[in-house]
Each structure stands twice: as C-alpha cells, then as structure tokens.
Symmetry: C2
C-alpha cells in the first residue's frame, strides 16, 4: 500500500530539528505520498497540508544543516476544537500516517489526535520524533537538540567567565541566564568546561533546587572574596525564595519565562555594591549553527531515519527514542516507546544523582556535547593572576 | 643591549587578544627581560609588574587560543596623576620598552606615557598592538578581534532569523542588539550571510545614520507585511530621533551603552501590537571561542610578532598596522604607523562607501570573517514557506 504521510515540526526550533526531517525524508519509501504540515499544529487545524513535490523535497533537503524549522513550527493553542478540526482534515485528506517532530506538548497532542481519529474511525498511524533543547522528554536517554544547546551554553559560560576574569577591576559579577523552563539540564551543562577551582561558573542555580536571596548573596560574596569575581549561572526557571518563576510576559496564554538574571543583577548592585551584568544567552542557545554538536546532528538525522522504519513496520502511537548502551566509549541505538509512556512520566527533571554528583553528569554529557572544546592543556591550570602583587625593583 | 620589556593588555578583551600576546612573547629576543603589567593601566599606575619567569611564560603561552586577556585587562581611569605615577614606576623598574595591546584609548595613553617619560628623561620605547572588536582604530585596514566578533554577529543574526521564520505564528519581530559604541562596523557585519530577499536581517540600524521612531515602525510594518516577520539589527550606539545614545548605566564615569533593543521591543509591542523580542548579543560577541575566525586569530598572532620586530629595530611611538594589499585573493602585510597618526584621526567610523554599497563592504569583510559559514547551496534560495496555502484534497 502506498502511504500518504504528513509531517510537521512543532514548538521552539533547534539547530538540528531540520536534520531529523531530512533523515526521515531520505529514508521513506520512495512511493510514499508526502505532505508538509506547515507552522506546526496550526497547519493541522487549518488544513495547511502542502504536497511535497520534487522541487519542495530538494529545497527541504538543503536544510539538513540549517537551524530553525523549515516547515514552520511555532506555537499555537491546540484546543480540543482545533484537534477535532485537525483530525477531520487528516481524514478528509486521506492521510495514513502523521509524523511530528516535537517535545512533551507534541507527544501529548499526537496522543489526543490518535484517540480522536479512532473515534471517527479514521485509521491513522501516529509517530513522534523527539526534539527539545530542554531535554525534559521521558522515555529517551536524551533528545536531539539538547547536545548542541548544551554545547553552546558550556562554551559561552567558559568564555564569558574568562572575559570577566580580565575585567575584574571594573566588573565583578556576571549572571548568565539559560533556558530550561522547569528542568536544569541546560543550566547544569554550563559547568561542563570548568577546569579549575577558580574558573567560572562558580555557582549554578537550578529549577530543581531551592534558591534564596540570602544564599545567593552570600555565595556571590564568597566567590568575589576568593577569586575577585563571581560568574554564576541561573536557569530562567528558578524560583527565588519559593516565589513563582520570573515571568517575562504572557502571550496567547503561554507564559514566557525570563529576566531572573536582571533581578539578580539589581540585587548584587544594590546590596553588595558590586558591578554586575546579566547575560541572557537568548535564542542562540537553540539555534546557533556555530555550536552544533556533531553527535547531536547525527542523532537527529538518525531519529528521522528510525521514524521511517517505524512507519514501514506499521508501528503507531510511538516516539523514537535513543537508548544509550555504553558510556565510554559512547554507544547507543535507536528504539521506540509508546507515546503513553512519554506523556505519563511528563517533564523529566535533572535526576538527583546528577545534581549531587556533577562529574557523573559531565561524564554522561560528554559524548553529546563533544570533547573538542578544551582550549588549553590541563597540565597548567594554576591561575597565575591570583599571585600576589610583586615589586620587581624595590 | 638586553632590553627590559613590560607588556600589558587593556580595555575589553577579545577572543584573540591572547594570541597577540603569545605572538609577541614567542618572537622576542630570548635575552630580553620580560615583565607582565597586570590589569591594564592599573598595573602601570600601581606598580604591578610581574617578572615573566619560565613557568609564567609557559602558562601565558597556553592561552594562545583562549578568550579573555590572561594578564588582566579591565577599565581604569588613567588620570594625569596616574600616568605620572606610571612613568615614575617604569623608570624606577628600569623598563626600556613598554608594549600595550589595546584600542583607541590605549594608543592615546601610550602617547601620553611617552611624552611624560621624555619629560623626566627616561628613555622609553613605546609600541602599540591594535585590538578592538569595534574596528574603530585608524591607521590599520582593520584590527584583530573584529573579524571574530563580526563572525559571531553574522552567524547569530542568520541563525536567530531562521529561528524566527519558524515561529512567525507566535512571534513576529526580533531586534538584535550589537556592540559598536559609535561605529557601525559590527552592526553592518550582521548582514554578511543574508542570502535572499526574505532572509533576515531585513534592516540594520547604524550609529552613523539618522534613526527615527517613525522610520523604524514603518520598516517593521513593511517587513512583517512582506515576509511575515521582521528581523532587524540595531547597534547599541544608535540615537533614536536624534536623542542621546541609550545608556545602560555609568560606572566610574564610563558610560555603558545598551538597552536600545528593549526600547524598540516596547515600541513594537505597544504601537504595532506584534509580539517582539529584544536579543542582546552580549559578551559572546567579543569572547566566543566558537566564533573565532582563523584569519583573525592568525593576524592577531602576527601583530604580536611584528611588535617584536619593531622592538628589535628600535622603533618607538608606533602601532602595528595591517596593510591590505589585495582583496581577492586576500593579501596583506604587517606594517606600522605613528601613534600620533592613530590618535589624530580618532574613532574610525564605517565609511560612507560601505554604508551605501553593502556588497562592497561584505566583499571587504569576507577574508576576515571566513567563507565557511554558508549552510546550504545558494542554488535553491526560494523560500517555499512564502507559497500560498494550498488544499491538497478539496
């Protein structure tokens, strides 16, 4: 049977989500009739299915290494009415297979679509491909997109800390804000390249841990006393003093977090009288082509390829997963798990053992980020700048 | 004669300022007695000269590829009294040669030091090595540090614009803020990778050009109408409606610019009712190890090497310069010019011919940024996403 397959991308893009798409398209049965769903759920709800002809296919394939989501992704309130509408269009367009590349929201949406399709007796095969920089998807060792984002954050934190070391007579504190709504995977990755006691980041604040103003100010004071500077990392999702998370704004009922670093900057300036700067790492975290991790890029492609295999084998209601089979040397294989299994667990936070044993986390992280970011041999890590002032000719 | 040479780094660090330092140290006469001046002018004024012994030398050399300024750099009000003090210490420590790696402020400071030294009859050879991400130094085709910063900004703007394209049903406008206090070199570099009409950045606002609220809002409206999004770049140094530049704060009498993008974000939200986001590229612009340009890194090293040659040949009151001898293939040589020549011209802005003829500017920029950032073949630049909605089965 020639299958009619619709494919879409949803949520925030990543540097490698297009690689998953190309992996899928390169691996599908050449007889399949392909349709692009544009702008994520919106395309589903508004019947925006575009036949992927040869010209469109070639255009998409050019995006294998391009950040962003080339079908259009975005955010869209996928209400019950709209899901109902989507299923109606899927049936109307005689779509046999729906594949979406996305995160937790997408896997939940796919499940709902599958249920609704069954209700209206439309036989629909439903496949999810994992994607999230936050790495909060259950059922998989990690999700494509995370490795590259972690790589960006690790390098940025190391570099911005090095920069601060040189500026300490002018600026003493930097507060680097990372993505990661409720999960600390990305924030914790910021310490991956820390190679000595005095190198930044000196402290990392995770959404999973309590975070108080007093603790923060005392740790800043301690670091400045010891190293002349404090370079700290804070996840956008932390709650100060048990209050709610710092909201940047609300758009279409979606809360956009952000700005905790600016609050902390003010705190440091006002209460410690030090010069501080908030650094919000921004969209580059999820889209920087300069930070793409080779392994992440490869795995993203392979998840797409695996989805094609699941389609061929008539699997449904499953998400592709990456199963790590060995840490060192890193080995893994592509598998799958039920959507139900993913959504039941919900957002996967940074595990306690990784919070408490950071070297263990970095060992786990290394193959995903890459081991090519170290800039100088570790043999000479002493920071000469902490030497006391000397007077050569007195 | 065995020379006693003191070397320092001043101002904001770059991703390649340590390469200049290592280039110098690797090329100096092995008999020379070397001293590190720590924390820029502060080390000069406070007699913080550290003998560079073998261990310290090896430690410094490890920083060839490390961002930041490993001797300490920073900002310091170099008043007449302090310059006087510095010259006294230089004489007291029997320093024969002073080499500083820095920008316009540093070259002016070196000139004053040289004059003062002459006044107190201390024979002092003074050499400047150019460094600035802003590229506003006169006398040289360009300055080390600029190429890597431009590379970071060009890639970030392309990537963040691609990300926005995918998010247009949720967010329509991004305002990317770059460094460049009074000169538009960096902001203009943001368009280097723009490869089609609908790709961002759609508009770039330079400090050299008038910039009004009305013009801004009408250009945003125009881009959103045409492409569904507007991705624009604004230099931190632009003046809205002829007002003064947007000040983040004043520290030690130094004005820190920043925040114009936040003002513009509010404007777009309030007056156009679109969802907008300010993206301040931050310290990564000057310190990202991921964005280092090979050519920039190489030239930074070579400016240090050239400084060693100038020392050997008893030149004084000069700055190393890069002379471009051919555009394509790019050819250049290391030369020098008088400090007087640099300071007389002052901040070099983006020339009118580059403002008006952007392809000419990008042709000039290409060898400095590198030609390896293009992510997909230019053969298929049509943006399929602008195709009208189609209904496959209606």
């Amino acid at each position: 049977m020639v299958k009619r397959i619709a494919v879409g991308q949803a949520g925030g893009p990543t540097a490698v989500i297009n690689a998953s798409l190309v992996g899928l398209l390169n691996s599908l049965d050449s007889d399949a009739e392909l349709f692009a769903v544009r702008d994520g759920y919106q395309g589903l709800a508004e019947n925006d299915f575009v036949p992927i002809d040869e010209q469109y296919l070639q255009w998409i394939k050019k995006h294998r290494f391009v950040p962003g989501a080339c079908l259009g992704s975005g955010r869209y309130k996928f209400t019950e009415d709209r899901i109902h509408q989507a299923v109606h269009y899927l049936k109307h367009n005689k779509i046999d297979v729906l594949v979406f590349i996305g995160g937790n929201g997408t896997m939940a949406a796919l499940q709902r679509i599958s249920e609704k399709a069954r209700e209206i007796h439309h036989h629909l095969q439903v496949i999810g491909i994992p994607k999230t920089v936050d790495n909060d998807l259950a059922g998989t060792d990690h999700a494509p997109g995370f490795g590259s984002a972690a790589r960006y954050i690790a390098a940025s934190t190391r570099d911005i800390s090095k920069d601060l070391e040189a500026m300490k007579n002018f600026e003493q504190v930097r507060i680097i804000e990372t993505m990661g709504r409720n999960a600390g995977w990305l924030a914790a990755a910021s310490g991956f390249l820390r190679d000595s006691e005095n190198a930044g980041p000196h402290f990392i604040y995770l959404p999973e841990e309590p975070f108080t103003k007093d603790q923060f100010l005392s740790q800043i004071t301690q670091a400045v006393k010891e190293y002349g500077i404090a370079s700290v990392v804070v996840s956008e999702g932390v709650s100060l003093n048990g209050n709610s998370q710092t909201l940047k704004e609300i758009v279409d009922d979606r809360t956009i977090l952000g700005g905790i670093s600016l609050q902390l900057e003010s705190l440091v300036k006002n209460e410690l009288n030090l010069n501080a700067r908030a650094e919000i790492l921004g969209m580059n975290q999820r889209s920087s082509s300069l930070a793409v991790s080779y392994q992440d890029q490869l795995e993203a492609y392979e998840t797409g390829k695996k989805a094609a295999e699941l389609i061929d084998n008539d699997h449904t209601n499953v998400m592709v997963t990456i199963k790590r089979t060995n840490d060192f040397p890193y080995e893994y294989k592509m598998e799958s798990c039920s959507l139900e299994c993913v959504t039941r667990e919900g957002e996967r936070l940074l595990p306690k053992e990784f919070i408490e044993n950071r070297p263990l986390f970095y060992k786990w992280l290394k193959p995903l980020v890459g081991n090519d970011l170290e800039l100088y041999p570790s043999a000479l890590k002493t920071n000469m700048k902490t030497h006391k002032k000397v007077y050569p000719c007195q």
